[in-house]
Symmetry: C2
């Protein structure tokens, strides 16, 4: 594996056609008390309305489960909306598969593992281009993290060393999925999520959207809209964090 070659991926270089984007970028796959993806099925059916077959990117491997096992788990849910889900790991030429895909879903797990796999297989750039060319894309958790400019506001442990922290950059900010408010009763002295994001802003000017579980971003052409029942928390360098309401257009970042 040649890290130097993999690092050639440079978001911002290819033509970006924001007017064709179609994405659901969700904080979590599963809300408390719910089943896998159930709160999103209506939105998913709408996103993938023009295709019966969707490619699944299982590389984030939650809990280390196999690609097959993860694909099977997700495929069961897609069957309910009459869609066939096919694991990207089953294609001989995954780059070509992404170029011709009619829909992609990237599941959650460990963002470091996911990003390392995407670089190793040289899929970061083709996936980015496909999304800007109108590929309908669903991400949850780690699969959402990679939509941002970098994975540097992930909550995950660095269990593998990726060749870069740069990610797809199909939205012009970073995400913090599973965003968690500080617990005022906590006696734990570790950093809160808000403190961690403030530390990120000592190093970067990239805004961060803290997406609470049950929230998602719906990207339709040029618009990025907060969906779900909850507010999102916005972090910008040098500003006090602030909340935005559901259905807010967040193109201002």
């Amino acid at each position: 594996m040649n890290h130097a070659d993999e690092n050639k991926f440079e978001p911002g270089q290819p033509t970006e056609n924001h007017a064709t984007r179609q994405l659901i970028i969700a904080s979590t796959s599963t809300v408390f008390g719910g089943e896998y993806l159930d709160y999103l099925t209506d939105e998913m059916a709408q996103l993938f309305k023009d295709t019966d077959e969707i490619i699944f990117i299982p590389f984030a491997r939650p809990g280390g489960i196999s690609h097959d096992e993860y694909t099977d788990r997700a495929a069961k849910i897609f069957k309910k909306i009459n869609k066939k889900l096919v694991g990207l790991h089953t294609f001989k030429n995954p780059i070509e598969a992404l170029k011709t895909a009619k829909g992609v879903f990237t599941g959650g797990g460990n963002t470091f593992v996911l990003v390392s796999s995407l670089y190793r297989l040289q899929l970061m750039q083709p996936l980015r281009e496909a999304i800007f060319n109108g590929l309908p894309y669903l991400g949850t958790s780690a699969g959402s993290n990679i939509c941002g400019l970098s994975m540097q506001t992930t909550n995950d442990m660095p269990i593998v060393y990726p060749p870069s922290f740069k990610t797809l950059g199909v939205i012009p900010f970073n995400l913090n999925p599973h965003y968690l408010d500080p617990n005022p009763d906590s006696k734990h002295m570790g950093e809160t999520r808000e403190t961690r994001i403030a530390e990120f802003h000592t190093q970067s000017t990239v805004p961060v959207v803290g997406l609470r579980e049950g929230s998602w971003l719906r990207v339709i052409n040029n618009k990025i809209i907060l969906k779900g029942k909850f507010k999102a928390r916005i972090f910008e360098q040098g500003k006090q964090p602030y909340e935005i309401e559901p259905d807010t257009l967040i193109n201002f970042l």
Copy 2:
């Protein structure tokens, strides 16, 4: 900055004299309701009994504070035990400073920032050798994380990209500082600390010691002993996690 050169650091290569190690490796600098380092002052006075001057490594920069500011904060505490604390950033030749140091304290903050700085200044190897040569070392949080074989079980956000995740390797396992038990009442669907460490063990055979706040490891020559009031949680690949009592010798890992 040449990443290839920095990656030359290879723990395990130099002569390791475990019989001369003198370390305090603490989960946190501050316990709930306490002041900075106050629960550790007796142990610190003992560790640093043979020197009046200790070098402070401020590079983890909690909340992004400056090296001077962080050194001043820590120096106030060391004054109480009649020790002078000098920031490593004030030395013209920090490599030489570590080689001749009589005591070192590395404070907490962001482990990615700390590790990036240590590599950039080529300090990882000199610090490792100094510790194996008997340099008394105190670490808290990020400063403890770097004592393990890698920083891959840190809780911190990857806000900068270090040239490697390898760390000092002056103890033969990894740490998870600020270890936090799962909250049975939580409705949050993000991974627990235990789940994250289990994911690490899908990638690595390195054991992990979950150190609760208020616990520390005291390394005296060949012995590594759990200190403080709390049990620690041990994670080994392929085993159920288990607890060990204070004052347990953990040379078995």
